[in-house]
Symmetry: C3
Subunit: 214 residues, 3 copies
């Protein structure tokens, strides 16, 4: 069971890392930038979570095997960037799967470290979306989740909150975890398909012209 | 007294969070971006400080009540962005109050964690200005304090240094703390009013055309 | 010996800080931005490493003397920006020396904190290149190492890996450390001279037009 969990975790890291390496291609970075950016997105969310819960060395540094998926992703993108491009929908699918998975596992790691249920759910969201935010910030883009196509942070929050709630109520198990991840994944995919989006920050009054805030 | 301190802290978080949510409106982010950006600016400085002093879980995660002000800020901005726009000077005022408050409380938290006086003062500055830097970096802007209107980091440094000095000398108390925060606040407001600014990084020789540094 | 090591470390911090302050001049920041940016690049890599290895307070905060080099750098750049500009090749030389030094010392600090050899080498790279990435991200640029002139991250990785390997094999000493740093330095300088570069992220097929990744 631990092997299944590790394998799924590494798979999630891999698909997130591919998204980082593909962004590196689009921004005309070199192979070093591709590897670094892929590492940021694949491992960044989990490292952020582990630094915050302050429970020793982040697992990505404790277990060197976590470095393998970003390397494989950079190599795959180096040789097959054209092919990967064709599977764009496949990529969105795997990104959604990674996000769904991390929203559940990230919350569990935080609960296991003794965080309260609310903080654990927030950290589940950090794990699920943090890598992508780091990717976009480091590559000098606006984070995609700030104006996402489809819903992204909201399904992650729902998954993390349900995981935290189920654990608190004593209902959590392999079945519950799988069901929650499936709901998160489905919500993400359906929201992409039907172009659902969160409302604008300033409501639907048109965008006011604000002066600088500070 | 602890309640007063918590209330003031939460008020500071709230006004900082409003500045993040207003930036989200100006950049046409959605409500998720508004909430995330407001959280970054309201809680980012304190989280940075707590991660550096390595004294367990950052208090923003330990006490879920810290998540309330950013949510309220995002909701207020969603419904009242137009009204908030009119109170721009009010906002600058409260931002200055938050900065003044955090420069004192941030230093105290670092001292309480056993940091030396110099490091505690630096961490007070990190608490006071860190959230704003994170806000600007994440939103893909140049940090405003790098070319601030009026003085910003300098009053924060003065407040943090005075707090650290007063604690070291055994003079710190409610009265001293209030007086220091008032001085910081006044310096910020006066510098805005009279358009004081720090000198340019390269002196007043005009800006040389430098080649790339690396 | 510890004094030599501290002196070299502070010298590395100083030359990195100069690169941050010079970037501040080019971006027309004020003296506060110059100091903050210089501090980020001089101390950022080491702070990142120390936060990840979770071995208490980062040494930059524990020993206030680490704050001296960024202050000196900001003052030097303020008064002598024009002169520093003429010594651009000198600056690249010292930046390379700092990077070479930090790739060795960063790895040693991580090993001393009990990290496994692979993680220690990665953290050596983080120490050597992290400050520069933080500098570029905070100043709203694309990190230079993502599309570096000459090789940068690769020599750092070679230096960190050799340091980790030599320690593991029991061969590490002052002589070995100096030799490794010299190799890293030479590789960086030679790669600049002969315009070596890493291949592009997407291989040599031309840049495909990819759709957004998420």
């Amino acid at each position: 069971m631990a092997w299944t969990s590790l394998a799924l975790d590494l798979l999630g890291v891999f698909f997130f890392a591919v998204s980082g390496s593909l962004l590196a291609v689009r921004r005309e970075f070199d192979i070093v930038g591709s590897l670094l950016l892929g590492t940021c997105v694949g491992l960044g969310g989990g490292i952020l979570r582990d630094v915050i819960i302050d429970a020793g060395v982040p697992r990505a540094f404790d277990s060197p095997i976590y470095l393998v998926p970003p390397v494989v992703a950079a190599v795959v993108v180096y040789f097959f960037a054209h092919a990967v491009q064709r599977f764009h929908n496949l990529l969105l699918t795997f990104d959604a799967a990674g996000m769904a998975l991390f929203s559940v596992t990230g919350t569990l790691v935080a609960l296991a470290a003794g965080m309260n249920p609310t903080a654990a759910a927030i950290l589940g969201v950090v794990t699920a979306v943090g890598g992508g935010v780091i990717r976009d910030v480091v590559a000098n883009d606006v984070p995609q989740i700030f104006r996402a196509r489809g819903l992204y942070a909201i399904p992650a929050l729902i998954g993390a909150a349900l995981t935290s709630l189920a654990s608190w109520a004593g209902w959590f198990g392999v079945g519950t975890g799988t069901a929650i991840a499936a709901v998160v994944f489905a919500l993400r995919m359906v929201s992409l398909r039907y172009r659902w989006g969160a409302p604008p920050a300033g409501g639907h009054h048109g965008t006011p012209q604000l002066p600088p805030a500070v």
